[in-house]
């Protein structure tokens, strides 16, 4: 990653891409029953996008920064996972909380691998 840039055009692109990713996450977040499925799927989808991008482009390329830091970063969320999990624990649903957390971390990191594999084909 080339983090040494404060190029205004890049900052604007990260803003727009992050906003778009976040707005798409709002759509996903509607899908919630006994499990917060929407946020789980949003995190997995974002990880897949991030993996495919890293596999396809150099990490310092503008397109990679915009897709990984903007779209994938905006689409995925750690804070919503934390809030939902604390809420599950508060409701006494410990098993769901543990399974939701394990699924989020395991499936997201697997999705990055799958994205890399898809990009390498």
């Amino acid at each position: 990653m080339s983090l040494d840039t404060l190029n205004p055009a890049l900052l604007l692109l990260v803003f727009i891409a992050g906003g778009l990713g976040s707005a798409i996450r709002l759509l996903f977040s509607r899908w919630s029953g006994r499990w917060p499925w929407g946020i789980l799927v949003a995190n997995i989808a974002a990880s897949l996008i991030a993996g495919m991008t890293i596999g396809r482009f150099s990490g310092s390329a503008t397109i990679a920064v915009v897709l990984v830091w903007g779209v994938a970063g905006g689409l995925s969320t750690f804070s919503s996972w934390a809030g939902q999990t604390v809420h599950l624990i508060g409701a006494g649903r410990w098993i769901t909380a543990v399974l939701y957390t394990a699924a989020t971390v395991a499936l997201s990191s697997t999705a990055v691998y799958i994205g890399l594999a898809i990009a390498a084909r």
Binding site: V14, S32, G70, S79, A82, V112
Partner: protein, 169 residues
């Protein structure tokens, strides 16, 4: 996220009871066209802030540590802030929840970044567990801090508030 609603002390039990029987979330977020605009703006700002944290770290600490430090900062600060938002009456409006909660906090924090770090061994399994544990702790701490600030009390903090570790500021 915003669907968690405000857990003020009078509603907490009712919300918890409802959650037990219903779903993973207490109150569904409002889902109006304006929420897409608010989440877009808040999420864009949060994503930009996450990038700026990385740029700032890149100028101040060793390059090898930037990714890990950035992850810890954005995820823990973002989770704590979301907890605060969900507990604070000042952020109780649907507009505020969309912009600051689903928008800013959602855009500022990242799970895909954590997934990349796990796969590239930037973060060790134990540090991953630590981030997960701390994320829950700081969210709950932010929630309590937000609720405390909205309690109808005199400006002079009560003895319990003064002795509490949450009343850090």
């Amino acid at each position: 996220m915003s669907e968690l609603g405000a857990w003020d002390s009078s509603e907490g039990e009712a919300l918890a009871a409802e959650a037990k029987t219903n779903s993973a979330t207490a109150a569904p977020p409002r889902f109006a066209p304006r929420d897409f605009g608010l989440v877009f703006l808040g999420g864009g700002l949060g994503s930009l802030a996450r990038w700026l944290v990385a740029v700032l770290l890149d100028h101040t600490i060793a390059a090898a540590s930037v990714q890990l430090a950035c992850l810890f900062i954005v995820n823990l600060v973002g989770a704590a802030f979301l907890g605060f938002i969900n507990g604070q009456r000042r952020f109780a409006s649907e507009d505020a929840k969309s912009f600051w909660g689903a928008g800013f906090c959602g855009g500022f924090t990242t799970m895909s970044g954590l997934a990349i770090a796990i796969d590239s061994a930037v973060i060790t399994p134990w540090l991953t567990v630590a981030m997960i544990f701390l994320g829950l702790v700081v969210y709950a701490g932010g929630l309590l801090l937000g609720q405390r600030g909205t309690e109808p009390s005199t400006p002079e903090a009560s003895s319990s508030e003064a002795s509490s570790s949450w009343a850090g500021e």
